[in-house]
């Protein structure tokens, strides 16, 4: 197996006496789509906060592309190519769709302490932003105000913004959250295309999507990874069925 792009070892985070992330270790190989599933309250969102850098870890190590990034800020991790999307849509609603993506391109295109030239007229930035929008099929919406998009389109834009940062690895935090059937079908096919070019860590509730897309699946329960493996193995894992999938079948 090749050198992992993302390597997490013995990561911990506690809030008071509650261990929310409890000795979590896993590797993500380049080009892999690694899904992290788990019941509500398993600590999935806390884990993604730790991976993206918005929450400091108590102990353990995260390394990305061979470098340790455990103590780097979110801003520094994005610059190295580790970008995230948000579970709760977090776009700039007053900006156009294009500007949302263009800002992410601007962040990696030289200094933003430029005060006089119109940013909207910088063709190289707009071109790169359009390319990111085209990947999520939003290029025909480029000049619309982001706030006027439908919920599904906003979820697409979330992914386009992460793409536009130029990241190699995307941490997608429940990209299907709140979407209807048609919208999630669009997003699933988008993610299938993204797999061709990007390494993805996907946190998701939708089991159908996870088992359709993932190369490997990790199962998080009460802060601990109880299983990691290819979808078929995880699906049939006894502890997993008991802890998680069983609940769904029973319900």
């Amino acid at each position: 197996m090749s050198e992992p792009l993302l390597s997490v070892s013995h990561l911990r985070k506690s809030f008071g006496a509650l261990a929310v992330t409890d000795d979590v270790s896993f590797n993500v190989a380049p080009g892999e789509l690694h899904a992290i599933i788990g019941p509500n309250g398993a600590g999935k969102t806390t884990l993604i906060h730790q991976l993206s850098g918005s929450l400091a870890s108590d102990s353990g190590a995260i390394s990305f592309a061979g470098d340790e990034v455990t103590r780097l800020s979110m801003v520094d991790r994005v610059r190295r190519g580790l970008a995230r999307s948000f579970q709760i849509t977090s776009i700039l609603e007053a900006f156009t769709v294009l500007e949302n993506a263009a800002l992410a391109v601007q962040a990696r295109s030289g200094s933003s302490f430029r005060f006089f030239r119109s940013a909207a007229r910088e063709a190289p930035i707009n071109d790169a932003a359009m390319a990111a929008l085209a990947r999520v099929k939003l290029d025909d919406r480029a000049h619309r105000r982001a706030g006027s998009l439908s919920h599904g389109e906003k979820r697409q834009l979330e992914i386009a913004i992460a793409l536009a940062t130029g990241a190699r690895l995307l941490l997608l935090d429940e990209p299907l959250a709140g979407t209807g059937r048609e919208e999630s079908a669009v997003l699933v096919s988008l993610m299938r295309e993204l797999k061709e070019t990007h390494t993805l860590v996907l946190i998701e509730h939708d089991m159908d999507a996870v088992f359709a897309l993932a190369d490997r699946v990790s199962v998080l329960v009460y802060g601990q990874l109880i299983a990691t493996g290819v979808p078929e193995v995880v699906r049939n894992h006894r502890d997993v069925r008991a802890a998680y999938l069983g609940e769904e079948t029973a319900a």
Partner: protein, 345 residues
């Protein structure tokens, strides 16, 4: 956001596009070309004011207009911080005072040239903004308001205690500033056009800044600072820079204010003055440069006009402000924008 709502939106994709696009284009009235046009008209009207004042035999109009434009410059600078940066600075008058005292203190020590005075005013205001901004920006929300208020009051009490330069009473300037040794500013008309020029430059400059890379980061941060970090921007540096630019520009307004009044006093830096600047920006429409100018004009004219009716004019002003905030969201600029939007295009 419910799934039901999004389904409807998805189903009506094509039907929604046309009116939405048209509405989005019309939105340009405040932030886009419409605003620039309004500002150009406003500045042109102001430039015609002196001949009109002469015609109707009211030379004092020029003096009043100069004073209004000086506050418009200060309000513009505050708008960068408050409207575009979403930082509610309650100590902005301190910069106005620093600029004014730069003139007074340099003049008292024998330097009357306005270029040197302005340079000192910019440096002093920018330095004060850099230090106080770096500390204030560690806080957010109400705490930011309180800490900027505290710094403003510190500057105020510093000037009150500065007895060599008038202390509490302030001091009258021996003369207005000179330009390259010439006493050109002694003419109210020259001062008027100088102020108008600075106002126009400030507007054009800030407009460029707002649409620049820097301004885009600042506007993005106003909407969602966490999103900005997630794409690789550290908001602090951009907010602090905006704070320094705004402080320096308010310092320039202070230089003009000292010359216009031929008097400086700690009252320029009082928290009431900072509050009035906020009112001007909110009244005109936060986050629209032309609104800041309009707000300053409206506020000072109202103040003048209401004072003619009663010594309790501030009560009337209060009532008017409450009505404006309640009934015209987005201030004067927002109201005008809605008027235009309602009209068929």
């Amino acid at each position: 956001m419910s799934a039901g709502e999004s389904k409807i939106a998805l189903g009506g994709k094509t039907a929604r596009t046309t009116p939405d696009l048209a509405r989005d284009r019309r939105r340009g009235i405040v932030d886009g070309r419409g605003a620039a046009l309004a500002a150009v008209l406003l500045l042109l009207a102001l430039s015609l004011l002196p001949p009109i004042a002469l015609l109707i035999g009211d030379p004092f109009l020029v003096v009043t207009a100069t004073r209004i434009m000086i506050f418009a410059i200060a309000a513009l600078s505050l708008d960068l911080v408050l409207g575009y940066g979403a930082m509610v600075s309650f100590g902005h008058a301190a910069f106005l005072g620093l600029g004014a005292y730069s003139v007074a203190i340099l003049l008292a020590n024998g330097t009357s040239d306005i270029l040197i005075q302005t340079l000192v005013a910019i440096l002093a205001s920018a330095l004060f903004a850099l230090v106080t901004g770096a500390i204030s920006l560690r806080t957010k929300g109400v705490y930011f308001i309180m800490i900027t208020l505290a710094f403003g009051q510190m500057a105020y009490f510093f000037m009150v205690s500065l007895s060599a330069y008038g202390g509490d009473d302030g001091m009258t300037l021996a003369a207005r500033s000179t330009l390259l040794g010439l006493p050109v500013l002694n003419s109210d008309l020259t001062l008027f056009y100088l102020t108008l020029g600075v106002l126009a430059l400030a507007f054009v400059g800030l407009r460029a800044v707002i649409f620049s890379r820097f301004g885009r980061v600042l506007r993005g941060t106003r909407q969602n600072p966490v999103r900005m970090q997630a794409i690789g921007f550290q908001p602090f540096a951009y907010q602090l820079t905006a704070y320094v630019i705004a402080g320096a520009l308010a310092g320039v307004a202070g230089v003009l204010l000292a010359n216009q009044a031929e008097f400086v006093s700690p009252a320029y830096m009082s928290w009431q003055r900072s509050g009035e600047l906020i009112v001007m920006v909110v009244l005109g429409g936060m986050g629209t440069l032309v609104g800041a100018i309009g707000g300053a004009i409206a506020f000072l004219l109202l103040e003048d006009w209401l004072a003619k009716f009663s010594e309790h004019w501030k009560l009337g002003l209060g009532v008017l402000l409450v009505c404006l905030v309640l009934f015209t969201r987005g201030g004067i600029a927002g109201g005008i924008e809605r008027l235009f939007r309602r009209a068929p295009s």
